[in-house]
Symmetry: C3
Subunit: 302 residues, 3 copies
């Protein structure tokens, strides 16, 4: 009733197990119910991870749990060997979040499973970008001619650059506001730096960024309260917004810093809607790469 040591098995039982395994190998398709997915989060991000997990479950994918904290990568295994192992074990798609910029460059072209980037270094975070686009699109049914102001720590934000680029490509007018030391001159071609108080009146979308406690000390240049007064969305600023304009934030919000506590769930706020949209857009992304895999398989067969 147990299998504890090789001594518990006769030679016949051993060979029986080998033959049973061969059967499983040749009948792969019978035991597969669905595609297999895993979330490899080498950097903490509960929110993004849970959102991907919900998307995976709603699509009916089978999930393999992966704990980056206890993974063999801690024993010095490369990311490539880890991913290659997951491929060998039978995974179809992995979502990876990793602290290294463009970690995926060592993987593409060398692995057969599909990768969705759940965020790399301070670089790319396409699912966040797409959920922001979805939220704007739901509101206005267009991007063309919209004024979007991105406010806060532009230079350290994973989201600011991708959003600014995507919005430009789709025809929106982008501008940046926030502390001078957090502006990023490499984004100058994507939009001007503007005064927040003026931007508040003109924008269709105010996209507030999170102040990263983990990365900067507030103490250096300003206190939480000073930040809120100078660069945050205060109740006073909110009253100057156009009737139809909306507030966005990637969350988690530092209430009373980027946004007044009372505004987080106000009528203009789309913050929790962004979270809801995150699930739908991640479903779409997963289905998109899985469809491409199917298409490739069919090509090989025909």
């Amino acid at each position: 009733m147990h299998i504890l040591t090789m001594d518990d098995l006769t030679n016949e039982q051993m060979l029986e197990l080998l033959h049973a395994a061969e059967q499983y190998k040749s009948n792969k398709q019978c035991t597969f119910h669905s595609a297999f997915a895993a979330n490899l989060f080498f950097e903490n991000s509960t929110r993004t991870k849970i959102s991907f997990e919900m998307a995976e479950r709603r699509l009916g994918l089978s999930m393999i749990s992966f704990d980056a904290q206890t993974a063999s990568i801690q024993k010095g295994e490369t990311l490539y060997d880890t991913v290659k192992t997951l491929e060998a074990i039978g995974l179809d798609v992995v979502v990876i979040r990793h602290m290294e910029d463009r970690y995926f460059d060592e993987l593409t072209g060398r692995v057969k499973l599909s990768i969705i980037n759940g965020g790399d270094g301070t670089g790319h975070h396409p699912s966040q970008c797409l959920l922001d686009l979805l939220t704007i699109y739901q509101e206005f049914q267009r991007f063309n001619g919209l004024t979007v102001t991105i406010v806060g720590d532009i230079s350290h934000s994973r989201v600011a650059r991708s959003n600014a680029e995507a919005l430009n490509r789709l025809g929106a007018y982008v501008q940046f506001a926030g502390p001078q030391e957090w502006m990023d001159s490499s984004l100058d071609h994507l939009g001007p730096n503007v005064e927040l108080d003026q931007a508040v009146k003109e924008s269709d979308v105010l996209m507030m960024l999170r102040v990263q406690h983990e990365r900067h000390a507030f103490g250096v240049s300003f206190s939480k309260d000073q930040y809120h007064q100078q660069y945050g969305l205060t109740e006073e600023r909110e009253r100057k917004m156009k009737p139809s304009s909306i507030i966005m934030h990637p969350a988690p919000v530092n209430r009373g810093v980027e946004i007044a506590d009372s505004l987080v769930e106000c009528d203009r706020s789309r913050i929790f809607k962004q979270m809801e949209n995150g699930v739908y857009i991640r479903m779409a992304m997963l289905q998109y790469v899985l469809n491409q895999r199917e298409a490739i398989k069919h090509e090989f067969v025909n």
Copy 2:
């Protein structure tokens, strides 16, 4: 075959993804197979967590894993914002265990998902209480007229107060035994403090509480062995119990402290049966709140 950066997507592909996401949004019900549940355990309790998970799986709920250790709450997010996020992502019910007394007061009336309390501070632990009641009820088919003695660290026990109150309400006669310094005068209206050796002879149910190594040093007042001799269920005491009476303990047991090692699985012991019952009562609790949600939805529709 991957989605790595926004640059990998044409404008057409981006819009395609947005439209696919909109489809998922409007067809929610098609991809939902069942209610979605998560277990938020901010305090370790493997036993309770696994029991809830088994209950959730047996009910066929879809589970989203949540690791409190790596959660955004560690970045200073409030419990309210965490729960609100899970609601936005689509969860129907969460089981929460939290070190703070009445943590749920900041949630009730402000969230739409259902909460089952998996234990708060030193306060409430309704699923433990109900499984204890179930175990007694299975044994005697009644509460009325039963004598139940709760033994041990009354003053620090999550379970002692709720059980004493519920048993009183249901007509049982409750009494307390244990070290004087661990008695709790605020429970005087629920039953008297009695001598263990007398109680052992009279009780239908002996409910032994766990000595919390984490909270007290044994060393102060007594050694493990002294505790066992004075306040534990020794083999000698067990021989004085009535033929029909039973032994209960919330587990994990400190063998040889609260109960003699040899008695943990004796005929009178219901300790492992309590664990089994824990799964059934948690299924009943989950189904109860889910039924109420359904009822509410129907009200809105009609």
Copy 3:
């Protein structure tokens, strides 16, 4: 809509919950969809754990997550009480990995659920052994007459002894190579110690073992590079292998130590195939113990 405290429940609601729980108890089979499994890994081994999880999912088992790091066993609970709890909660099979040699001796004969050993101390690791056998069998369709050389840290290897024993039993010719201080005279009856350069030419299978950074300091006797030159599979040695012979390694590989980086995915290497086979053999093992359980149940019924 919530269940937060016992005070929220009327006596009638309490009794309703007790009756609902009784129903769940008596109708066990209706809510069971499949056997329930859990992986208890008290020692990190992502690779083995993920492989078992994939096997379990492909067999359609229901999984209960178990985090050994936060388990009650940390509060001093014995392994026996932990496993007994899981049995009471309703698990059918558990896979256990534990740092203690023959941890299972305190369990067998005392528990009703089935145990598959996922590795104990420096002792047994039957699923690794069986997947190695499967990989050899797939290649040669026999064991009889094959020469298998096991190379490296023989004395500390979980795998070396079991593999050597099983291969002997199945008719293969086994030999050992590696640093003198890592040879193990208690294995002398299973095969001779040989020179690596000679063995490379004669072997059908070269089974390279992982050098455990965690257990030894390289510094003492040799550097990584020295190890590779003396006891590793260099490109030069690979060229001397017989045309049909294969390379195996339990992984994770220290690239450039046990095996030249360029050889890890060469034509002879079966390293990633071993990982794939791991899933199939674990499916076979799980199905094997579950079938035995069924057989036992039927015996009781008839």
